[in-house]
């Protein structure tokens, strides 16, 4: 594993998603791996940390999540802008070599048989908490975060450091039609 990838304590895992980034969702089952992007993912609880993500029934990633009971949310960055768009707008259903075409490389961490996307800023390994009605009616999946990691060049001591890192590390926030915003300046309220 890259020396810059450090575990994030579970009590602070929500901070990886709290600012609302577009995420990459990865999963594998039976030797098949896939990755898609999702703007509709959100923190749901602090401890144990939980998350939500919307996975359309047409996606090829969803059955991998359903069959394995696990998914990974990763926070992509400016260096992954085109990759993030591409894995959200091609499907392995009709483009079997989707991951290779998008330049996605995968790695694993010890203890978990799930694929992580190389070059992301953060990773949350999630175990599905089955909620059949949400999944069927709303395409909404709930996961408990069982392990979290971040690159220490952009997340340090439990805090994002976008303002001190290279701009290539900025998180991506999708709107529509290929248009994203990168996260911007740090601003502080009086506490």
């Amino acid at each position: 594993m890259d020396q810059h990838i450090k575990p994030v304590e579970l009590a602070k895992a929500y901070r990886l998603l709290n600012h609302g980034p577009t995420v990459l969702v990865s999963a594998s089952h039976g030797g098949v791996e896939n990755v898609m992007s999702a703007a509709w993912s959100c923190a749901l609880d602090f401890a144990p940390p939980k998350v939500t993500v919307v996975l359309d029934k047409a996606t090829a990633t969803r059955p991998l999540v359903e069959q394995s009971g696990y998914f990974v949310l990763q926070v992509p960055n400016m260096a992954q802008l085109q990759l993030t768009y591409d894995v959200g707008h091609t499907s392995a259903v009709d483009t079997p070599d989707k991951l290779a075409k998008a330049g996605v490389q995968l790695f694993k961490v010890e203890g978990y048989d799930v694929p992580l996307v190389v070059g992301s800023s953060a990773w949350l390994i999630c175990k599905v908490l089955p909620e059949p009605r949400n999944e069927q009616v709303y395409d909404l999946f709930i996961g408990e975060v069982v392990a979290a990691y971040a690159d220490d060049r952009v997340f340090q001591n439990g805090h994002w450091a976008f303002e001190n890192a290279d701009p290539q590390w900025r998180s991506l926030h999708y709107i529509a039609g290929g248009n994203f915003y990168a996260i911007g300046e740090a601003v502080v309220a009086k506490t």
Copy 2:
């Protein structure tokens, strides 16, 4: 209603939340109005547009949502930085004049008996789709967006215009401890 506040067609309402801003949640019932901030709110569907929001059982806003069946999500901006922090860190439970202290002013739009926060960038009026299990187990509420509005100084023709608007219009993305990020530069992927 301020001349700059324009209706947003429901098919594009998801774009108001798609980039993951921290929101203000407002509701009223029986003459009581309240506003809280929430980082955990997310788009859930395109058409009809639906949203999720996490409302802790300890909040004073939650019973207003439960009793009225409606809530409003508003997208606050840099000019509302301190207001956004303050309404998220004081409760009407122990600070009855919370809204006045935070400088919150409310207005209404024709056809809906719900309070909207003056000076926000966008407003989504939502009707609760009751899901008792989600609400009890996860504090997760689902709403259908029945009307949406945005200020035309920052949202134009169905698109955010952060890059062309005054920086005071930038959306806020909360992390923790009073620390937010403002949304940043527009970046475009090849489609």
